[in-house]
Amino acid sequence: MAVGLVFLATLPFHANPYLLFVGNLAMLYIVLTVGLNLLIGYTGMLAFQNAALFGVGAYGCAVLRVTLGLPYWLSLPAGGLIAMIVGVLVALPALRLTGLYLALATVAFAQFTLWVFLHWYSVTGGPAGIQMHPVDFGVLASTAEYGLYYLTMAIMLAVVALTWNLVRSRIGRAFVAIRESEVAAEALAIDLTRYKTIAYAISALYAGVAGGLFAAMLGIVVPESYDLFQVIAQFAMVVVGGIGSVWGAVIGAVGLIWVQEALRAFKEFQEIAFGGMILLTVLFLRGGAMSLIKRHIKGWDEPLRRIPRKR
């Protein structure tokens, strides 16, 4: 892990702007997929609103920064908070739904959000979206790209650490209990409404913050970035990496971004290869990449409780 961290921290010094962007994108998707995995993998809710909330965070950040003139330092967390509030509002009716009904309701929400992005001209700019000028990091970074890279890295590390601890806490165990059986969880005095809302809120906050980072990376926020393909891409990252595993989400995000960029050279075969990889994972590697790691690396485990240190 230390080698990986050193590699990430020094990437701006040995990578060209293209590779730096890809590295930044991978870290951003880690934030997204860790949050989505919390909802799908740990709490067992088949919900598809993450891409829409990713967009809400991006638009929230862009509107606050461009229209209202707030600095990025304020508009980024504010965008995340807006996404969290919207996420909780979505959670309220969705709490009564499970399985396919929940999936359908959240897909409908995602489509509705896309419609709002496209048609609410006065706020979202319609199909042309909102253009953002580069973020000025002042003395903290020599260029916007470097500043954004290290900001994304700091947020990604905080999100992974926070989630790693969360899933091993009482809250994380409540999530897993809900996933395994809502009836049994209730019998154990777990408040379903409360814990499901917490899962939705955290997942939405992560998606919203990732949206604000994405907006700054691209310099433009437009509806098509948050469409059905975005839903599928995030879902695929969770599945390929490993459902119900923080490290699975990390591996899924990095792996799929890497494959996507590596396959650029193959042009029209890119889609076939990408689809084929997801199909093979679903057919032959149900637990995703994490199942391989668990099988071949002895002692690898992601316990749901803190293991006391040996004296």
Binding site: N16, Y18, P127, M217, S225
Partner: protein
């Protein structure tokens, strides 16, 4: 002393040689240009549902480059064209353009088909100071305000809808209605169309919506008939347009209908409708001549595309690329052998191709205006064939 003198002389000679060689070496260090090659990057959609719109444009550009290379190249250099996929999305356009600039290290970029993807790529291209000739993106803010390195050989989006409105007025229409699809593509044309109405002090008598996937447009057709529209401007993809035209014909309502560039294949539209006569008063615009144009100018390129891309069916998208390719070749020829990015940008700013083989009008840039193309041709179906029935040249 003598030995020292010889050594000093040798060092001085070496220093002189290095000094003289340095400008030569620097001259050779123009990114993307070697003694025998110019590397040009293409940014466009190569995969996904819109891949044909991108691939065929770049096949058209590369056909021109291949023909130039076969004739010996430009000032002793061959043109090599490397393509990167933007999937028609901003989030894919940014890594694609960074790969072109920093990984492939191209001399200039010749491409760009989707407006939002191009808008996302623009800041990186500006920052890197790479000349960019846009082949198909229609967002006006790509070239307005003028950037010294960015040019377009495609109509701006607003020009198309302004041209549609002008066309129905020229055809004598008084009560004009709109039928539009309100997705990203449709919205980007619908708003400028309303602006064009306002600019002429007019209002549409009806403003209806159809989904791009619509198969039944009877209610819309009835509404238009009730509004008494004598002409309809469509902002629709072919599938929805076919439904509308078929259902209007079925209820006996036969106004003038003017479509946009999405309906480049009127014969295909007729096949989709399946009723003879439904397109009797239909016209649609395109920036190019017809792919079926029997003239030598078009037919020689049709043959060239068939030679290099035998699986391609020659279409208007190729013709965008061919006209834009001719423009680029002209600029590279005029720039001479000593190339720099700044020099080619200066040359592009005054390059003019008065009669491109596949376009309906001239491509001409000026230092003050990098929207270098402003013409469109009108097509209709006559005796089962798609024929050109007019041209519109916008002055601004």
């Amino acid at each position: 002393m003598m030995r020292m003198g010889i050594r000093t002389l040798k060092s001085a000679a070496l220093a002189l040689a290095v000094a003289f060689a340095a400008p030569q070496a620097m001259a050779q260090e123009v990114i993307g240009v070697t003694d025998d090659e110019i590397l040009i990057g293409a940014l466009g959609v190569l995969t996904g549902p819109l891949f044909r719109n991108g691939k065929t444009i770049y096949d058209g550009v590369e056909t021109v480059y291949n023909e130039v290379n076969a004739a010996g190249g430009i000032h002793g250099r061959k043109l090599r064209y490397v393509r990167e996929d933007d999937v028609c999305k901003p989030d894919q356009a940014v890594p694609a353009v960074k790969k072109l600039i920093y990984d492939h290290k191209v001399f200039l970029i010749h491409g760009g088909g989707c407006s939002n993807a191009s808008l996302a790529a623009k800041p990186e291209i500006e920052k890197a100071g790479v000349p960019w000739v846009i082949t198909a993106s229609t967002a006006p803010q790509l070239t307005d305000p003028v950037n010294p390195m960015i040019f377009t050989t495609m109509l701006a989006g607003w020009m198309e809808t302004a041209g549609q409105l002008q066309r129905v007025i020229d055809l004598g229409a008084k009560k004009i209605a709109i039928v539009a699809q309100h997705d990203a593509w449709g919205e980007s044309r619908y708003t400028p169309l309303l602006d064009a109405f306002k600019a002429k002090g007019m209002e549409p008598v009806a403003d209806e919506e159809l989904s791009p996937e619509a198969t039944d447009a009877t209610p819309v057709a009835l509404q238009l008939q009730a509004a008494g529209a004598d002409a309809i401007i469509t902002v629709l993809f072919p599938k929805a347009a076919a439904a509308l035209l078929r259902d209007m014909y079925k209820i006996g309502y036969k106004p003038i209908v003017v479509g946009g560039s999405a309906i480049g294949d009127i014969k295909g539209l007729n096949d989709a409708i399946g009723i003879d006569g439904a397109l009797a008063k239909f016209q649609s615009l395109f920036p190019t001549k017809s792919p079926l144009d029997p003239s030598e100018d078009v037919q020689k390129w049709k043959a060239a595309v068939a030679k290099y891309y035998p699986d391609d069916e020659f279409m208007v998208w190729h013709m965008f690329g061919i006209a834009s390719g001719q423009f680029m070749v002209k600029a590279l020829e005029d720039a001479g052998r000593d190339l720099t990015r700044e020099k080619i940008a200066k040359v592009l700013a005054t390059t003019s191709v008065p009669d491109p083989d596949t376009y309906a009008g001239p491509i001409a840039c000026t230092p003050e205006d990098h929207q270098c193309y402003k013409s469109m041709a009108w097509f209709a179906l006559k005796d089962g064939e798609q024929v050109q029935v007019g041209e519109t040249h916008l002055s601004q």
